[in-house]
Amino acid sequence: MEFVFFLSAAVKAGTCLLYATLGEIISEKVGHLNLGVEGMMQIGAVIGFIAGFTFGNPYLAVLCAALAGAAGALIYGVLTVSLKANQVVTGLALTIFGIGFAAFFGKSFVGKKVPEAIVTFFQPIKLPVLGDIPYIGQIFFNQSVYVYFSYLLVIAVYIYLYKTKWGLNTRMIGENPVAADASGIPVDRYKYINIAICGALCGLGGAFLSLVYISIFPVNLVSGRGWIAVALVIFAMWNPGKAMLGAYFFGAMDIASFWLQKYNLPISIYFFTALPYLATVFVLVFTSIRKRANKKEPAWLGKNYFKEDR
């Protein structure tokens, strides 16, 4: 039974990663490697908490977090899409900004509790029928609505990327913006929209931490989870479904050191915190050796597109 609780906790720990990862997948699919995930999550976490604390309304808190994340992403968008700045450098600058922003605006909220109304709203709710399935029910269907929403989001992102015209165009831009442009797709507009969605989802991931995952606002909340999300995108090979499985695996590793403390394991518990990155390296190497195009990164990932170069 304890293992079931562990897995249930892993799903919860993985949910913040899942939001951010789905966002980064969308951004990378349009060819933009945004290393500002950590920063956008920080911004979302702190704005989500401040809005929740001030208004006591869960909807408003989540909305503010998403908008704040998207605003952060738009700084990145203006610089990389319109002003053609280097993506890696701009993303890193965004992360520095987000960490500073969160530390500054979060400072006076450290130690404050999440308001009662929000805690109640995001309490685990056992779903009828599904929640009664042995094991599975406890693990997946006795969770917060915030977690349930992420299940729907996985499906929505999959449909968006693979079953809609917009998704097709988005992926085409990531693979070959020259051809996409030639066929009349408004490249820059697509890039902006996808980058903003990425920011909003990262903001939601951050707000999950500050509104659901913790009860008292701490000093450093996101503390590197954004980088795990960047790793997860590769681990999942840019696939929303695999991102879901990966998020729970990485989430399990995140809490493993805590749960495994009491067992006298022959290996260091810190091995588990490194495991997500080791696994990602393994996937990265493995896919490049196999040279499977559909499992590799978008061809134009990290490269800016300049129309007049055509």
Binding site: V89, A93, K107
Partner: protein, 354 residues
């Protein structure tokens, strides 16, 4: 309609003017945050300058903050020249520190000069290995090095965490998770706050400048960065060049691990990098991968870092404000690059050019 076209390489005078305008704009934008934080922006900016140059001790602190950033940026630059995106400087830095700490741990009684030499060698080797792994896969299978080196940072970080909290935890630190301090024979000698790493940094700047501009390997790295086909056509051994560049790049970043542990912190810990590995990437890029500009920009960033930590105590302003100012300056400079490389022309003019 207005079109955007690429400019020829910008004049030095234009570059300086545009950069200064960008910094001015950034300071104006940052002033809003400073006012938010309850301080007078002009006083604060003067405070930053005072914190860096106010007295010899503060100036020494500025220079000591510049050294790691400078050497890391040089390291990153060597790889970037080849269009090999090494964003793993943070990890190579940490591994270099592990290498240095390894020497201290197992050969604690070496005389100082031998000790420093051995620490430097092992730091270089450890940093180099940390980049050679992704470089090997890049050369052999075309594995994406941006993502690979990024991951290597966190593997290194977790390794150091494991050392600090577990394997190398100092039993004498009364339960505190820290690694034992280096003995005196493993600390870089220093004079009024300036330590030996400054001398090493000067030598490295000269060495790398000549290596990149006047040596065969420097030429090969540059050509490979320009075009792989050209490189192949003129008979450059591509695998060998990638591996050599990775060795230099990772090694330099690793060496900084020795500078910081033996020169500043006096022990190995997870905090020694302070994100400098990432800042170095920004410095190298904004310097256009040119050594003289790297020296200049490392100094500018060191001023921001040192000034930022000074205003925390002098103005009671949280360090996060300095972080945000730094990021805002970066945003403005990154945006101003556009003005350096592109310009607007009208439809009519475009037709004339064509």
């Amino acid at each position: 309609m207005i079109h955007v076209v690429k400019k020829d390489s910008p004049k030095t005078r234009d570059t300086i003017i545009i950069r200064l305008l960008a910094i001015l704009g950034a300071l104006l934008a940052a002033s809003i945050i400073v006012i938010f934080a309850g301080a007078n922006p002009i006083e604060l900016y003067i405070g930053i300058i005072e914190g860096c140059f106010g007295n010899l001790y503060r100036f020494a602190a500025t220079i000591q903050k510049m050294v790691p950033l400078l050497v890391l940026s040089l390291g990153v630059m060597v790889a970037f020249k080849m269009k090999f995106w090494n964003i793993g400087a943070e990890g190579q830095f940490l591994m270099g520190a592990v290498g240095a700490a390894l020497v201290v741990r197992y050969l604690p009684n070496l005389p100082l000069p031998v000790m420093i030499f051995a620490m430097g060698v092992l730091a270089f080797v450890f940093g180099a290995i940390w980049l050679l792994i992704p470089a090997f896969f890049k050369a052999k299978f075309g594995t994406n090095e941006t993502l690979f080196t990024l991951m290597m940072n966190y593997i290194a970080l977790n390794l150091v965490v494991a050392l600090q909290y577990d394997f190398w935890k100092d039993p004498g630190a009364s339960g505190m998770p820290k690694i034992a301090n280096f003995p005196d024979n493993a600390l870089l000698p220093s004079v009024s706050g300036f330590n030996l790493s400054i001398a090493f940094a000067i030598i490295l700047v000269i060495l790398i400048y000549f290596l990149m501009n006047y040596s065969k390997i420097g030429f090969e790295i540059t050509v490979l960065g320009e075009s792989e086909n050209t490189a192949r056509y003129i008979g450059i051994n591509i695998t060998k060049t990638i591996i050599t560049a990775a060795l230099i790049s990772g090694g330099l970043c690793g060496l900084v691990g020795m500078f910081q542990t033996a020169g500043i912190s006096g022990a190995l810990s997870v905090e020694i990098t302070g994100g400098l590995g990432f800042t170095a990437i920004i410095v190298a890029w904004l310097s256009g991968l040119k050594v003289p500009f790297i020296v200049l920009n490392s100094f500018a960033f060191a001023v921001l870092l040192q000034g930022g930590s000074y205003i925390q105590t002098a103005f009671q302003i949280p360090g996060s404000v300095a972080e945000m100012i730094q990021a805002i300056i970066l945003f403005f400079i990154l945006g101003s690059e556009f003005a350096l490389h592109y310009r607007f022309i009208s439809d009519k003019k475009k037709r004339e050019v064509a």
